[in-house]
Amino acid sequence: MQPVRDELFVFKKKNKEEDLLSKPSVSFWKDALGRLKHNKLAMTGLGIIICLITMSIIGPLLVPYSYSDQSLLNANLPPSTNNWFGTDDLGRDIFSRTWVGARISLFIGITAVILDLIIGVIWGAIAAYKGGRTDEIMMRIVDILYGLPHLLVTILLMVVLKPGLLTIIIAMAATGWIGMARLVRGEILRLKESEFVLASQVLGGSFFRVLFKHLIPNAMGPIIVSMTLSVPGAIFAEATLSFLGLGVPVPLASWGTMTSEGLVTLLTGETWRLFFPALFISLTMFSFNVLGDGLRDALDPKLKK
């Protein structure tokens, strides 16, 4: 094969070529959005997420109890007209705690998604696309972060920082995105040898242009799956970190801590304490998943029939 020499491509048309290449992507996003809108299931998911967020704002206002009001004599009451979701072991209203907890858990879940996207995707994509030594160094950093004993890091953070949401986010930012980075790297290692990428490179597409216009969009499938699946992991990680004294201080609630504390009810029988937080975590998961699936289908032009 003849070596491809640069002068072969010194065309004045170059700009026009690029325009041509970028044009479909504008309508591509529009198209995708249109397709997404017609996906009933995905729209249901979106609706549920909006409902949950709304309830997290107004929910606690619907009942006369605050999330922290205790009534030890009314502990562990089953759901009733007074306490719609029942009460917990300190006699607190679970309905109110569920929606206060939603604020923290949804925030943590969405933050995890954003961290995944911002750090994980970009880290993995650059490592894979640059390749060679850059890849080696970047991925070894990832291995080091993953290999360090997390509990040690957590205890150190607990000592150094004040407990709170920000501390949890820092703890999650340290390692939460690593899975995503590895996943994206694997996909892009494969994709970067594809004809369309080679073509785009040959046509003079810049590093970031090829990365963001061609490589990442084509790796969207695994990215979306990994993103949606990082939500419950983050919700439970928050519970562990809070229990260790890193997160939101008690008596503030979160779905994660409510679930962990609900474990004992499998033995004692007040299962509503476990049921409601678990239900809403599952519902959140469901919504993110159907929305993710819808998004995936919508972004995959080849599925359009």
Partner: protein, 309 residues
Amino acid sequence: MRQFLVRRIISVFVTLFVIISLTFLLMYAIPGDPFTSENRIPEQVVENLKEHYGLNDPMLIQYIKYLKGALLFDFGPSIKWDNQTVNELIASGFPVSAMIGLQAILIATFFGILLGIFAAIRHNSAIDYFSMIIAILGLSVPSFIFATVLINFFAIKLQWFPVATWGTWKHSVLPSVALAVTPMAYIARLTRSSILEVLSMDYIQTAMAKGVTGVRFVFRHVLRNALIPVVTILGPITATVLTGSFVIEQIFGVPGLGKYFVEGITDRDYPLILGTTVFYSAILVFFIILVDIAYVLIDPRIKLMKGRR
């Protein structure tokens, strides 16, 4: 390939060196030492203990001893479990954790991929939703709750399996299942998405249009091309699962490695922290290398050594 391996093995040592050095720093940066306790222990007793375990040596000496221990894979006696060496603790715990972990990985991979294939081929059908719901449950029910439910149902109610402890193969079933659920859900979702993508590729569509079908076709072309994401996550997951889960092993009273990762740190058992960290990191980097090799085997176009022109 040989050049790749040589380079990687050098980088393994660098990676491990950085991990254990950082661990050393972290270990001494956090408050408390092995003998910090609420009990009223006389100062002179604590002093004797520190002297005994060489904790009164200068930091640099301790660090050198520590590196030497890591290099020779000899970490000396544990401070908490003082009648056993760290090597003995790892040697007795690892086979147990590895057995549960291996079974869990096999269950997770097999059923995960199976569910994923089903879901993708019957895209947006009842099977697809069923597989999604299983995945959602698998991920939104924490493993400690799942483990408790398994015990209540299979061990107490049906009495098919013992509640806890270790001994026969039967003892390993429930912990393996409990451990497999989360990775299985993950693998199922990833497989589904990748297969959907591959199925929509031109060459597959063309092949199918030409009537190329059959099991071999699915495995050689569809699954093979869809495997990269699954292989990617399998690497670190396998390393983690093989070295034991603290929660699962505690719930099932299994004498595995998991608890040493946590208790080593809460006890500030320095030799044990060192030993478990080196052991885990070594297994981790091993599986990460395997993943990279698997990439090349799955898709020979992938070139790991090559930088971007």
